[in-house]
């Protein structure tokens, strides 16, 4: 069976993408706001829960701290997940472009 976090939700997707560079939680939220052109603004509880969850599954890890804030970064396993998701999404995108019409019909 598929991993329970797959396919990635928009929130999880953005967090993994943002944490390709090491950031603390609030900075990740700001980065995501910028990356999504203001369309994804994470709330505190959502961000906290997502970080806990991704950390638990070993897709991100704590790499240090800045004062009281913990800094997180994506792990190798997390990058593999992003690869899988990238392939899935590019396939769907290719269907949009019509490059693979209904071959079997």
């Amino acid at each position: 069976m598929k991993h329970k976090l797959l396919p990635l939700s928009e929130t999880m997707h953005y967090i993994l993408l943002a944490l390709r560079e090491p950031l603390h939680g609030y900075a990740a939220m700001q980065k995501i706001e910028e990356m999504s052109k203001g369309s994804v603004i994470l709330a505190a509880g959502t961000l906290y829960g997502a970080i806990e969850n991704l950390n638990k599954h070993g897709w991100i890890e704590c790499v240090g701290d800045a004062g009281r804030r913990k800094i997180y970064e994506i792990t190798a396993e997390g990058r593999d997940i992003l690869k899988v998701e990238q392939e899935r999404l590019s396939h769907i995108l290719s269907l949009y472009e019509g490059s693979e019409p209904n071959e079997e019909v």
Binding site: T11, Y26, I41, A43, A44, Y48, G49, A50, I51, R68
Partner: protein, 191 residues
Amino acid sequence: MKKFNLFFNIEKEEQWLNGQLQKGYRCTNISGWGIYSFEKTDKRYVMRLDYQEHLSKNQFEEYKGIYEDFGWHYIKGGWLGGLRYWQKEEDGQDELFSDRQSKGSYYNRLMGYSLMLGMLCLFFSFMLYKDTGFSELYFKGLWDMEGSLFWKAFLFETPFVLLKLSPAILVVVFSSTYYKAYRKYTMLKEK
């Protein structure tokens, strides 16, 4: 200003608190026995209740730190662990959860909370009623009394009977809060 109130439903409590805040108050303290302290303010505040249990010291610091970065101020309180009270100045980003999944797991945690309290009350009820059942709630001689004496004794005893019945009543209350959280949880999960 201090106000007393008892809630068995987190969402009702949140609504009531925000009702007070809209009258121009902010919450300063919540004691374990249902006493809420407020003070007058010119600013507009909003409160949200979260439920998180079993946070280790480290986890709690991380949890609190992230919420504080978003402008939430932690108010200690709750008569049982797990309930977390957050308050902030209203600025348009006033929710704790911004997506369906995390809102869903919030209701899932509330289900666990109601279930735990419900089971606890069920256990108390069992201990309390297992020997006597419900038949001896009232003093036995009461049923032989007549006329106004009966009614006086009956009215006098009723509050004590309700007190004795409270664990059973609470089982029903917590079952209903469980069901409400369950409904919201499945609604968020379905789509």
